[in-house]
């Protein structure tokens, strides 16, 4: 007998509007499916696509060059501490791309997996979160590129870099909340599909990617942190660029609260609507 059968038979009650009692337990029971879907997404992305890896490299590199020229050279904005402008930009782009690729990957994921949704049961939240795996793999490629860049500029990161994993998780959580909300909305109202690329395109200028958030006037700095990505980007720069980049604490805490709030809202909305997905999709 497989491990499935080893589990004690518990009574399952299906009723309209019944909140799932074992929701989190259920998600854990499906962790293997999560792993295999994540693996599928990653392997399909890099299978038979020589350009797959190249694309993950070229896109951030070109973006970095453009942002450096526009903000650093043309607008002559200051960098943080002594860090070269390209490295400052690139360190901000890493969490931004992690955020945006998770957001767009997740929000299309359910619609792309229609055949699964209509034919088998599993906690639906697995699909958008598994799409996050692709974002994480792309991030890893970008991160290696940051290493190359730092070597090129002879820039040595400080000991803060050990906190980096925390900020990686923060960037992903910041994205997951809105992503779950968007995913659920996208199933119901397909026009949300067109909103996401717009949000992503817009966000790169609204968030401190091409510039340091220290250029934001002091009186606005706190409110600027309402954008949940600001906390993640500032944190990233603090880790990578070292002591020369100071972390603005009140703003960072506000960002953190917003992340938690969005995450809670996203999960709550997703849970409320996920049972109707099969009827809508």
């Amino acid at each position: 007998m497989g491990t499935i059968l080893a589990a004690e038979p518990r009574e399952l009650i299906l009723e309209p509007g019944r909140a799932e009692k074992h929701y989190w337990h259920d998600i854990w029971a499906y962790h293997e499916l999560f792993a295999i879907l994540a693996w599928r997404d990653v392997s399909v992305r890099y299978k038979q696509t020589a350009i797959g890896i190249a694309w993950a490299v070229v896109q951030p590199l070109l973006t970095m060059i453009v942002l450096t020229i526009v903000f650093g050279r043309v607008a002559k904005l200051p960098t943080e501490g002594t860090a070269p402008y390209p490295i400052m930009v690139y360190a901000g782009m890493l969490p931004w791309f992690l955020f945006s690729s998770l957001l767009s990957g997740a929000s299309n994921s359910l619609v792309q997996n229609v055949n699964l949704i209509g034919k088998v049961y599993f906690p639906r939240i697995i699909v958008p979160t598994a799409a996050g795996a692709v974002a994480l793999v792309d991030f890893t490629v970008n991160f290696l590129l940051l290493g190359v860049l730092m070597f090129w500029f002879r820039f040595i990161p400080s000991w803060h870099v050990i906190f980096l994993p925390f900020f990686i998780i923060l960037a992903m959580l910041a994205s997951l909340g809105p992503a779950l909300f968007m995913t659920a909305m996208n199933v119901k109202y397909r026009d949300f599909r067109y909103i996401i690329p717009f949000v992503v395109q817009f966000g790169i200028y609204v968030s401190p990617v091409g510039f340091s958030s220290s250029v934001v006037p002091a009186k606005w700095r706190f409110w600027y942190s309402l954008n949940p990505v600001v906390g993640a980007i500032d944190g990233f720069r603090w880790c990578v660029l070292g002591g020369k980049s100071a972390l603005y604490m009140p703003g960072f805490l506000l960002s953190l609260c917003i992340v938690v709030l969005f995450l809670w809202l996203g999960i709550a909305y997703f849970r409320r609507t996920e049972k109707t997905f099969a009827d809508l999709i």
Partner: protein, 423 residues
């Protein structure tokens, strides 16, 4: 609930809301368009605000796919579910396998459910056969360890050893289906929910699948099985649930349910048996069995004067073919565009009275083009007194008045007249 009841459905209902486009007026008045758009926008905004599903269309209609469905399934039972298209079978399976939520009522389920509503769910064309086995297995609810253990068995069952590391997009459709079914066949849940999945692959493979299903059912698992294949239902199931228009018609032993189902089919018009593509150009206008002449009477109205061949196939009550007869068997063809009445005497002396099916087709004599096809039209054959009054599956549909020759084994002393034992 009682220990041996694993599924209990109480007053189950599922409502869908569907939208209709209103018939457009011939002259479109701007005033009407504005009024209608405003009305629709208001309704959609209200739906959105209440968090309900927004349905496009000018009028919406509620449709109960299931209503007031209650039943119980005991451990180890193999329950067949039959009903016409749209009777609610698939909706019921979707609720039981947790894909969708009921609108009212409730279901209590004891034990792990695996549902098989389609073969090859989640197969990815870019991935290899090996990768897809793991992917599909996980989707169907198997653990990695379980798949690993059964891997060789699955590959052997699917007969794809050589192509294990080829992307499935390069597979033939037969290989694809075999692999997909092989994974599904190795599921070992306590409750298995299966939709019309045996209707795939070639006849040989279908037989293998049916055998595997019988195997699963035989090991004391609870199985819920939907199929249009009455034969498969009769072979696999112990008990049968008949659905019609979202309601339960009855739950009874398979043989009774099948007969009831077939009888309910007889109420349909002839068009219900005609393939959709021929409905607009129907040629076979009527088909019935005339008891007085013991003949099948066909009314045929050909569209043009091209030569036509007609074929009639008689099936038994489980839709297995008994025999076929063609107009060209007699060296004849049909060349007219007038309505013709055709009487085909049936060998009723060799058929047990009861339920049969008949398929009729009209096609050109080279059999390259079909003009009309009717599949499995139920007919009732009555006849004079005949031993074993029904075409029960135990006796078969055919009857031959064979003369048995019975005499004593040691017949040397006094050869008796045969009539002494047998008349």
């Amino acid at each position: 609930m009682a220990d041996d009841i694993v599924i209990r459905a109480e007053e189950l209902g599922k409502k869908y809301v569907i939208g209709h486009e209103a018939q457009r007026e011939r002259y479109v008045a701007l005033r009407d368009v504005i009024a209608r758009s405003a009305r629709n926008a208001w309704r959609m905004a209200a739906d959105m605000a209440k968090g309900r599903v927004v349905v496009p269309g000018d009028t919406v209609e509620e449709l109960w796919a299931l209503k007031g469905v209650s039943f119980e399934v005991k451990r180890g039972e193999v329950l067949g579910i039959i009903g016409r298209n749209g009777a609610g079978k698939s909706t019921l399976l979707k609720i039981l396998s947790r894909i969708t939520e009921p609108t009212e009522g409730r279901v209590t389920i004891k034990g792990r459910v695996a549902s098989l509503l389609e073969v090859g769910t989640g197969f990815h064309p870019e991935l290899t056969g090996r990768e897809n086995i793991y992917l599909n297995g996980a989707i169907l609810g198997m653990t990695r360890a379980e798949i690993k253990r059964k891997f060789d068995e699955i590959v052997a069952f699917a007969e794809i050893e050589k192509f294990l590391d080829t992307p499935v997009k390069r597979y033939s459709s037969g290989m694809y289906v075999r692999l997909a079914f092989a994974v599904a066949a190795h599921l070992e849940p306590e409750i298995l929910v299966v939709d019309e999945v045996l209707a795939v692959g070639d006849a040989e493979f279908q037989k293998k699948c049916l055998g595997k299903m019988q195997d699963i059912a035989g090991r004391g698992r609870t199985v819920l099985f939907v199929s249009h294949n009455i034969d498969a239902i009769e072979r696999l199931c112990t008990i049968c649930l008949t659905l019609n228009a979202g309601k339960i018609l009855g739950m009874q032993p398979v043989s009774d349910a099948v007969i009831k189902y077939i009888q309910s089919q007889e109420l349909l018009t002839l068009d219900a048996y005609r393939s959709a593509r021929y409905r607009r150009t129907a040629e076979i206008v009527s088909l019935e069995f005339e008891p007085t002449t013991q003949s099948v009477i066909l009314l045929v109205r050909p569209r043009d004067r091209q030569p036509r061949d007609l074929s009639v196939v008689l099936h038994d009550n489980r839709q297995s073919s008994l025999f076929a007869t063609h107009l060209t068997d007699m060296g004849d063809t049909l060349r007219t565009d007038n309505e013709v009445r055709i009487a085909i005497p049936l060998p009723v002396q060799n058929l047990r009275p009861g339920h049969y099916f008949m398929s009729v087709a009209s096609f050109d004599p080279t059999r390259t083009h079909f003009f009309d096809v009717l599949m499995h039209v139920p007919i009732q054959i009555t006849s004079q007194a005949m031993p074993l009054a029904s075409n029960d599956s135990r006796w078969g549909a055919l009857y031959f008045p064979l003369r048995w020759n019975v005499r004593p084994a040691r017949a040397l002393e006094r050869p008796p007249a045969a009539s002494q034992y047998c008349d």
